[in-house]
Subunit: 445 residues, 2 copies
């Protein structure tokens, strides 16, 4: 009897396109990612912050120009005049908050956050309309060591998630080095932004289009060829920048500084130079990096770098800064590709599952649960009315409980049965010793 | 030189009205609340879920009618036709997700979530435009014991946060009991919704307005007086519903069942009957409850009850259900009122703070941090160039670090100084024993 009207109404009962429902297993994966991000951030001395889910629309146009508006979900309050937008990135909020602190902002300020972010784009693999992003920023310090510290915390997060240098690599470059190399090829200052743009898009266009666009920059055919080489210049993991083919060591000063800092931080094997890494043009000022799966199958896992003009742009004092963002969507795909996401093992596992094998003991199920929970234990029960022990223990197993607490006839003598569901062993336990028995059992697993 | 134009532009650099910036201390408080909510949920066997931050607009009008629209932040994608709204509550998302699971939905389904929610209203004390809410729901069970289990998990969360029955109380009522009592007063079935509405608003109107409205329901002056008594009828904490003055025990059957279940769950002293509790009219079907601070100073901390028609409303099979929502804003105010929010103690405390007392050892600061962090330790450093030990130890203290690791002249002999900043004791430690020494020190605190 479904009319076209009810079909159209039925549309309201699906999640919006490009968003996700997190059922318990999906949520367990998200919490696992967030937990590892958080753990790494705190080990490195970063403090967590957050801001509103939406901001004034002009907070985004300040940094990105009015062109950003069509990529945002923007809205007004009914009858209101203020334009708001769902946050597409966290950096403008961070800058606003840093500026609000004024002179009270410590040097350095080390902040991380894990906001939900929104893009009003066509959803694609690895790009959804709502996602979660780990943001890490260091404000107030300006040297290669700081850039390496920032990259270190990103790697620590990936390492906590089980990733290794053979699976993921940090590709880094430096704006000043690339500008110098482009200048040597004959690119004028005026053409530098266009040259960076071409470098960024190199792999998204046919060779002849690239050649044409490079010629438009005033480059002769030899220079075009060297530009192409430069766009693909990369080192082996952990290798010194001087191993880049055909480049003058004197031109690579800032890359060498980053490399040495990465060695100093013990993470050189997770990283290699890639001169094709550009990132946002108007924004980054020095070091830039992206983290990619080594197979090249997925989009970038993370991107970041140095943006020393950010705080000024939002009305604060000149403040050196660097940071990165790592989204949950691509990262989950990479982990899935690598077999690193076992959702079941990420779901909280019950310590005890209480079952009742005797009608007379039924009224003691709830008080038994209450006792266990008062000791901080994760305790569940069967809600079924069956007294069939086989079925009840099967249910305890489906919940992956560490043990079963069986309330049977012996309950009238103040005794319950504690069954270790990993080993199959079971023991009669007097009621006052129930909690300590379960806690001891958990310690042995 | 600030023109009116720049002032208006400057507005973009403030957080939107009714939203919050979470600097590290505010964020630590939020995470503390979420941590206790989560801990209680998991101990009681609930599984975490989440949905999109925005939904199709009609998901909200289905439950609340078109009147809800002006209270929502709604929007379209630029050039798109679909209407979306920022979620004002989580229940419609939960219902949509439960319906999507169909027959795969376990009985019972016990879900919790901690979403950000949005209201396009004028912000007031305790009511902001964006807040976080703990949602807990049990689907598939319909008895007083289930209602008591739901209330138990709410109390467990509050207890984890340090609250006690003297500070907060669950006020509960039951729709059927109140309907029966109103009917006995002479309210006809037709007038019942209006009578519930009047009960709900009783304390928001002058006595004469109440009398007039009660008379409009067809009640004589004696009945109006008894209606007023009923609106204020409540028991002492933990007391049996039969202690309600002037009411027939036979009429209180469902309240007695709840009371007995609360006793069974060991939480009766946290709860009392309050027949003035009504909750949403079209929505709740049985037990209703609110959690309030006992001083009456703040708004309700939480509200919930039984809504057995919810899943059907969203297109699913008939499914009994109950749930509650507890917002972070009022809860934080209550905890602040009670002196239970010590933000400093909630911030993650560093295990070790590395300082350098000798230029020759400076290059070893980073490798020392790396070693400590590889053991899962929270390690920070001084970024200052001073070698003044007093200043450096003062900084370690400001970071509230558990110990300081001092790299001095003795570093050339492979020795560092570990200073316990709680006791003031310090020891020379050979480098290979650094991690184990710090871990031992942490265990003794």
């Amino acid at each position: 009897m479904a009319s076209s009207k009810s079909t159209s109404k039925g549309k309201g009962f699906q999640s919006p396109r490009g968003t996700r429902d997190f059922f318990p297993t999906e949520m367990a994966i998200r919490r696992h990612l967030e937990g590892c991000w958080r753990e790494a951030s705190i080990q490195f001395g970063f403090q967590e912050i957050d801001g509103p889910t939406y901001e004034h629309l002009d907070l985004y146009t300040v940094k990105s120009g009015p062109g950003i508006i069509s990529e945002l979900f923007s809205f007004k309050r009914s009858g209101g005049e203020t334009d708001y937008a769902l946050r597409p990135e966290f950096t403008p909020t961070l800058a606003r908050m840093a500026v609000a602190r004024g002179n009270a902002l410590p040097v350095p300020t080390k902040w991380f956050s894990m906001p939900c972010l929104f893009r009003a784009e066509r959803p694609q693999r690895g790009r959804l309309r709502e996602h979660f992003q780990w943001n890490v920023d260091i404000l107030g310090l300006s040297n290669a060591d700081t850039d390496a510290e920032l990259i270190s915390v990103a790697i620590a997060g990936l390492q906590q998630l089980g990733l290794e240098p053979s699976m993921v690599q940090v590709k880094y470059s430096h704006r000043d080095v690339v500008a110098k190399l482009l200048t040597r090829l004959g690119v004028t200052d005026e053409h530098l932004p266009a040259a960076f743009d071409l470098l960024d898009k190199r792999d998204k266009m046919p060779a002849d289009v690239f050649t044409e666009k490079a010629s438009d920059l005033g480059l002769d055919s030899t220079a075009v060829e060297r530009f192409d080489e430069l766009a693909h210049a990369r080192t082996e993991p952990g290798a010194h920048p001087s191993t880049l083919n055909g480049l003058d060591a004197d031109d690579l000063e800032q890359l060498v500084a980053i490399h040495e800092a990465l060695v100093h931080h013990g993470i050189a094997d997770w990283c290699h130079v890639d001169l094709g890494i550009v990132r946002g043009l108007a924004y980054y000022t020095g070091t830039v990096f992206e983290i990619h799966e080594t197979s090249g199958a997925e989009r970038a896992i993370a991107g970041g770098g140095r943006y020393d003009h950010l705080i000024e742009l939002f009305g604060g004092p000149a403040t050196p800064a660097c940071g990165f963002g790592m989204g949950d969507v691509v990262l989950s795909l990479v982990m899935e590709d690598r077999g690193l996401l076992d959702a079941d093992s990420l779901l909280p596992r019950p310590d005890a599952f209480v079952v009742c094998a005797d009608d007379a003991a039924a009224e003691h199920v709830v008080p038994t649960l209450t006792r266990l929970r008062r000791y901080g234990l994760h305790a569940r029960r069967s809600y079924k009315s069956t007294r069939n022990m086989g079925k009840l223990l099967k249910e305890a197993g489906q919940h992956r409980s560490r043990c079963a607490i069986i309330l049977g006839r012996e309950f009238q003598d103040g005794v319950v049965v504690v069954k270790d569901l990993d080993t199959g062993e079971q023991h009669d336990v007097s009621l006052p010793e129930l909690e300590s028995t379960v806690i001891k059992l958990l310690e042995t697993s």
